[in-house]
Symmetry: C2
Subunit: 464 residues, 2 copies
């Protein structure tokens, strides 16, 4: 509520009027980090993380993502008008990582796009990309009907579907055991069906752990049936159930940045969208955190090229942002997605400050220490910001804290030593998740993205 | 299920037959630490812990405890036959910390006992004590009807009642603001009523934070009404909502041991009770963890004198265990309840082992690092066990890890330096919460219990 006028803000655009700037709203938002409303641990996160690399894990993705189901004769035209991807061969049983941008070529979001039928799709992730597509479907004259199935935290309704993921080196053996025979015909990111407990279950192939695995989905009424069958089959293969602590750390090992700030908070061309987005929705209540602070929200925007999506952007069609992306595509200034390996000695120093009488550093929760929906920490070199660190996690596989980062090209080189500015300035923002603290520097070594399994032994040993 | 016979165990007694010993069952149980099924943090646990000492907190106790409601003409006789407390003046609007023991004087449990009406009581805590009273009510010829309202984790039903606690130096001001005037007539551990949002709300006075506060309870249908009113009143007094992370740490600051192993797993005299307790119940599925390992489950049993309840035990009536307790009461061998302040340098060493290629120490989760329902770590001196450390927590108020402990009298002296053996032997038990690890020694200094606010500055400074 606007304390001056007593009027309840109706839209994101309304809400922004109560703040000095979009950054002011986002940095001091009530919301904490993105939530995964499942059990935090089933056994313990150390073993669960290691199972992801050594045996197999079952991820339960049934609750934390929003599903945008869309159906109608104009579905393909809608996608083509918005997505930077090519949709030439898209249709039933095809899947994509859909990338949507604003007119200026900055990311609004990315999601998994499922071709359920030739004229029916599902867009699944944090709601950012799906909301943008829904906005166009509902306001720009497309013959498309949208059913938005909100993530559990934003809804009292049961989910429409379950969504499980079996990943790890033993995943395929578990899935073939469930299927009762070899699973064939799945290309990478291809869809198909397997048998589980007497059901034909639709699936998407990917391989988060560097080994093939499947994402499985179907009606929520089958949740227990399918889950129990997977658990039973997994027993012979050392599969562990992974809780939210483990789930929130493994994207890093596969190199996916889940948390780009959507480029929607500024500009006249996005005003209509901000008026459409509700004041009580995700975009109006998510938070921005970390040591990177700029008054200009556009400094936080990222392009598909910054995020490593060059191979996704296809200029074989017209889409929002095409002109800007075409102009910038050959630039050498795009950021490079790399991994930072944090220096144990400095992380230990942060931990040790918990015993200080006075100032402490920002607490690093284990195994994931992001504390905002959009974590942006400044990566520094020679006193100058040279990149963005996208939330740090401890990996029991690498025995290190690591973070994904987007670096200026001149420092984006394996072996380079940089540092992360850890904590927020001025004692910390007003986000309730942030206790008063002081900033400190944490040394970090650049390595490849995704991080290689050799990274742990390649870099200098740590002697406790 | 017994894998040999294929027969499903029906009772705790049945289940025990599948194991080498009660210790074998308990140390390798599936269950992890005792759960508090509320939000883990509302703002962040550092600020929430500090609010407990500096302003006020709202604890939500509506879900994690089992309520045993008992009603009938024999209620007082039932309590008198079992409780070590005096019940001479007990009745409506009286409350007690009820202590129940076995024939040999060892603790079965302790709970808060509420006198709701002259012939109606409620016993509230982990279910141990309540189950023991229920067993007698239902099998030993008492004219008492029991309604057991299980903790949320063991039940699909909504709770019968809400239960909130407002504690901290500003608690009384918040409660008087809610009441619309001074609150009078509450003795310590006395019950009464205050006004909240148009309701007469029953309350118990205690003071977990060293300042008076109230525990409030009423019908679950009023949960939102009462909670919202408290939150609103708390805004003027710096009150924070406390999540499960904070809740699981503050008992330590007030000196209450929540986790004595119930003395029910051995002995012919307890066999009938073990046969009555179900194989799928709390007692048959809770876990024992930590570095203290004995083949004899009775080594884990504790007396009321060990736990600092000498003032509670009253020999003005006959009760189960009286004879044994009378015989031991003048012994000088009872353990003494004290607080251990853990040496920061050693805790940092445990943390640092997370970066080792090989062996790590047992992970210490923050702010509470207990990993079993009954955490028993050995406190050592000169190579010999001299006490039990009852789960360690980090306190943002003291900027230290602390644990309650039960020490042999000869070492129970403020300033004494002892050490805690941290971690389980042989790489760790089979509890799923336990990752493979090695043991280590953590130095600790003995101080009073409850820990005094001066403890932090009295002991040697830590330089990070």
């Amino acid at each position: 509520m606007d304390e001056g006028t007593g009027k309840m803000a109706q839209s994101l655009e309304d809400k922004l009027k109560n703040y000095d700037s979009p950054v002011d709203m986002l940095r001091n938002a009530e919301g904490g980090p993105y939530q995964f409303p499942i059990k935090s641990e089933f056994s313990n996160w150390r073993d669960e993380q290691e199972a992801f690399r050594k045996t197999a894990v079952l991820f339960d993705q049934s609750y934390h993502m929003t599903d945008h189901y869309m159906e109608g004769p104009d579905v393909k035209r809608l996608l083509t008008d918005l997505g930077a991807n090519s949709f030439k061969t898209f249709g039933k049983d095809k899947a994509k990582q859909i990338v949507v941008c604003n007119e200026d070529g900055y990311m609004i979001g990315n999601s998994i796009l499922f071709g359920l039928e030739d004229e029916k799709i599902n867009i699944v992730n944090r709601p950012n990309a799906g909301n943008w597509v829904q906005f166009h479907a509902e306001t720009k004259g497309y013959d498309v009907v949208v059913h938005k199935d909100e993530r559990s935290l934003d809804s009292d309704q049961p989910r429409k579907g379950y969504r499980f993921e079996v990943q790890g080196p033993n995943a395929w053996a578990i899935l073939e055991q469930l299927n009762g025979g070899p699973i064939t015909g799945f290309k990478f990111f291809g869809m198909g069906e397997i048998n589980i407990a007497g059901r034909k279950v639709r699936a998407l192939r990917h391989g988060m752990a560097g080994a093939p695995g499947l994402e499985l989905f179907g009606p929520y009424g089958d949740y227990d049936l399918i889950r129990n069958a997977i658990i039973e089959a997994g027993k012979d293969h050392g599969m562990l159930l992974a809780g939210s602590k483990t789930y929130s750390t493994v994207a890093h090992e596969s190199g996916w940045v889940p948390s780009e700030l959507p480029a929607i908070y500024s500009g006249e061309s996005m005003k209509e969208y901000r008026e459409w987005l509700p004041a009580n929705g995700f975009e109006a209540n998510s938070s921005l955190g970390g040591s990177m602070v700029s008054d200009n929200v556009e400094d936080y925007y990222l392009t598909p090229f910054d995020l490593g999506y060059s191979h996704i952007v296809k200029f074989d069609h017209d889409f929002i942002g095409r002109k800007a992306l075409e102009e910038m595509k050959d630039s050498r200034d795009h950021k490079r997605k790399m991994t930072l390996i944090w220096e144990p000695e400095d992380v230990v120093r942060v931990f040790s400050s918990l015993f200080n009488e006075g100032d402490r550093y920002k607490f690093m929760d284990m195994p994931a220490s992001h504390y905002a929906t959009y974590p942006y920490d400044a990566v520094m070199h020679g006193g100058r910001q040279v990149g963005i660190s996208c939330y740090p996690v401890y990996s029991s596989n690498f025995r290190r804290w690591i973070s994904l980062c987007l670096l200026d090209p001149e420092v984006a080189e394996a072996g380079k030593e940089l540092y992360v500015l850890w904590g927020e300035p001025d004692g910390g923002s007003a986000k309730p998740v942030v206790e008063r603290h002081v900033q400190t520097e944490i040394r970090a070594t650049v390595t490849d993205c995704p991080i290689s399994t050799e990274a742990r032994v390649t870099y200098k040993k740590w002697a406790a």
